[in-house]
Symmetry: C2
Subunit: 484 residues, 2 copies
């Protein structure tokens, strides 16, 4: 790229770190790895003067935006309507003038141009991997990722895992579901690229946690990847087997997939349970590398690894960046993505960002409290995003549904439990068992988690116009975390 900041010395980076920033997307040497004692994977960038790094980010952004403009009818349409184009992007500040992308826009684009939507910038046959969301808000979103993007995803995750303290000698037990959920696959790709020993054990099948405990006891992994609630469920399963979770000797637990994994809780609970360090990670599946919000070993809140995915915490209405210190919602922009680039994707999560320094030396902005809530009514159950509207749509499509329902989320043995209490019509009185089974199966297929369905006669539940009144979240994990 033409206008790289001189201070970053592209030639030196190529020689010492195996990264060629003079081309876009950057080229990475798969054989590069820092010395095990090194704190950083790419210190020249991670610890750069922010203004100089911003120049690199801008150079990458210009290429990314022009690429999307040339290849994607989706972006061209959206940007033309908003009166912006690659030519109006003269500085990083100009990015805020570009319209945001909402997840609903992506679903709509995929419905109109299935399966990948007209923001796929490569040929469908060039898609190397397909993943997706569970479709909790209706139509699932399909991720089509090219082979080179997949390699870069592994590269990015390796760098961020390195920042969390993982080293080639580590043995990483990955206890998250290997299916649609991208976090598992990103952790696997990153661990492989970093040169650690990866053990993709997975999660989600019956009896699997007990098996995982037995393997962990025998194999003594040094690192664990999974959601915070799964980590606690894993610990409780171990205790029931007479195994002290501290005896595994886990040095690092890397948690993602749930707002609330961030400081101040429940990491204290997880750290107390396992005796290891719990770092907070994650952004959105669409944005993979999933971990581009990722803590370092000092645990001062998730760093925003801005040269990989450029993140601005924005006002949830105007989508203009808020000042450091203020709360908003992260808006994410890919900087080296050729298959389905996301440019200004709105997360909807709540976060506060700061630009204060961290003892690790990285000069990235940070989210000192992580992602601690939502601006909409989305709830997260066992790592899956659940919208009450998806439950409502599913129930209303079932013959026999009596018109009103409640959603009760609770926690049993550190695992979330989703209870859907629904009414049945008088006509279905004699077929309640069949109806319950149907609802259960349809909700499971739609939500990605298995709900308990409780049926009550039509007219039992008070009517409400307010979606929020239908949701009762009774989980006490964070409270327990605080009390420990």
């Amino acid at each position: 790229m033409a206008d790289l900041p001189a201070a970053l010395e592209a030639a030196a980076l190529r020689d010492s770190r195996g990264v060629d920033l003079t081309v876009w997307p950057p080229r990475y040497d798969p054989a590069y790895r820092p010395a095990p004692t090194a704190e950083h994977w790419l210190p020249e960038i991670e610890c750069a003067d922010p203004a100089e790094r911003d120049a690199l980010i801008f150079a990458k952004l210009v290429r990314q935006v022009r690429y999307a403009w040339e290849r994607s009818p989706f972006y061209r349409r959206k940007w033309q309507e908003a009166g912006v184009s690659p030519d109006t992007l003269k500085s990083l500040d100009d990015l805020a003038r570009f319209p945001v992308v909402q997840k609903a826009d992506l679903r709509q684009a995929q419905a109109a141009a299935p399966p990948f939507g007209d923001y796929l910038c490569i040929e469908p046959a060039e898609v190397a991997r397909i993943h997706g969301t569970s479709g909790t808000t209706g139509r699932p979103t399909v991720f089509g990722i090219g082979a080179e993007d997949w390699t870069r995803i592994g590269e990015a995750h390796a760098r961020i895992l390195w920042g969390a303290g993982i080293r080639p000698g580590d043995r990483i037990l990955i206890c998250s579901f290997f299916s649609l959920y991208l976090g598992s696959w990103g952790a696997l790709a990153g661990g492989e690229r970093l040169g650690a020993t990866v053990f993709p054990f997975g999660a989600g099948a019956q009896g699997q946690t007990l098996q995982a405990v037995q393997w962990a006891r025998d194999l003594r992994p040094t690192a664990f990847y999974g959601t915070p609630s799964y980590a606690l469920h894993f610990a409780e399963t171990a205790r029931r087997e007479g195994v002290d979770p501290r005896s595994f000797g886990l040095r690092i637990l890397s948690s993602s997939g749930e707002p609330g994994a961030g400081p101040p809780t429940p990491p204290p609970l997880i750290e107390d349970t396992f005796g290891g360090r719990c770092v907070d990670m994650g952004s959105m599946a669409e944005m993979s590398p999933w971990m581009t919000n990722g803590e370092c070993r000092h645990r001062t809140g998730m760093h925003l690894w801005q040269d990989l995915v450029y993140t601005q915490v924005c006002d949830p209405e105007t989508f203009r960046p808020v000042p450091y210190g203020a709360e908003g919602t992260p808006v994410y922009t890919h900087l080296e993505r050729t298959s389905q680039p996301m440019i200004r994707l709105v997360s909807g999560d709540r976060a506060r960002w700061v630009d204060e320094s961290c003892p690790c030396g990285r000069t990235y902005p940070r989210l000192p409290q992580g992602l601690y809530g939502r601006f909409d009514d989305m709830i997260i159950v066992r790592g899956e995003n659940i919208y009450p509207s998806a439950i409502e749509d599913t129930l209303r499509a079932i013959d026999g549904f009596g018109g009103e329902f409640r959603i009760i989320v609770s926690r049993r043995e550190a695992m979330d439990e989703l209870l859907v209490r629904a009414e049945y019509t008088a006509a279905h009185q004699t077929r309640v068992d069949t109806l319950r089974a149907t609802m259960r199966e349809r909700l499971r297929a739609r939500l990605g988690v298995h709900p308990v369905v409780d049926l009550v006669p039509e007219g039992t539940l008070p009517r409400t116009e307010f979606k929020a009144h239908r949701v009762i979240d009774d989980r006490d994990l964070y409270r327990r975390g605080l009390a420990t």
Copy 2:
């Protein structure tokens, strides 16, 4: 390597196919791919004169055996006891004088030198991936695979999938469990290396099949990987949703993990159900590349891809190779494995091998009926190997078990069901529910599949000394397959 057969022209292979056979292990160019219209990935080897290929195999074998001798106390001990060594290996025929390895030997070696056993030939920190068996025969076996081996596993799978007719334009839906089970991971690695679009959807969680059906309907994969019984379960789930399995447009179904996937059934049933071609694959998890027994698109029985894994069908008592045309059990030998090489691993499966030609032009020996049974009492339930002895051990360790049991395997909606009928002691009469739950959980953890547990009072079941009398296999899949 010094003594490569001249006919294979190593220099030409390096230039045209990107494979360097002059070094061991061979080096493969990750960018090589045949033209999409080509029938073979590596025709010079796949279609070679068998005697010439045997010279290549012998050259690889010599290096493999010497490597194991130098790095592995396990093999050195075993071979010294048997009076063999790399020096006694003067021809391929000499291999039969080397002692076989039984799975029990591996478990014993791992118990003595945990976790990988003293047949691990690299440093534990060099292990890139850990997988394993479910431990159905007691202690699970741990697979520690180095990064270079993993790359070669992908290379081998790509070549074999190419032989099955998969091409870069294909979209492969992988519907098998992503956890310990290595078949899923091998198919994924192979599909990626081949340049197809892979969709690692997985299997095993509740409700996942319905989700898979919905994704298949939207994404229209052209290829499917999973066990034969899962393929049929998938089809039945589709039909319940009003979706004709033929409407997916699957061109190729690749089945493995169950003896019985081979000709003559149930592929006719699967092919009739989906309207695609069903090819039979698989060997043993220890041997991955799992598919080195693999059919080509002509479906004449699994080819033995001898230059990747050298396979001899042997007498189940003497372990000397049986003549072509005769029945025996496959004994497998790695030829390019540096982490945990298997040299003469006994499978225990039943097979008949022939050396008749195949219309595809490959000159490998074949298993015209695939793997069609076992020489021991192992049963396969939902792709997991189950030994009645493992069920017995588990039950006997539970307080309240009344001393006798039966194992009933049946098939419900194309999915295997495992019923364990066990006695309880009189003292546990009031705690039958708790006992059943304990048995269920322990058996699930040990076997990898969730059994139905049926409890009966002590003394109800006739006593037997013969393990086989405790097993009732009531599956009718193959009979149904024949009737179709």
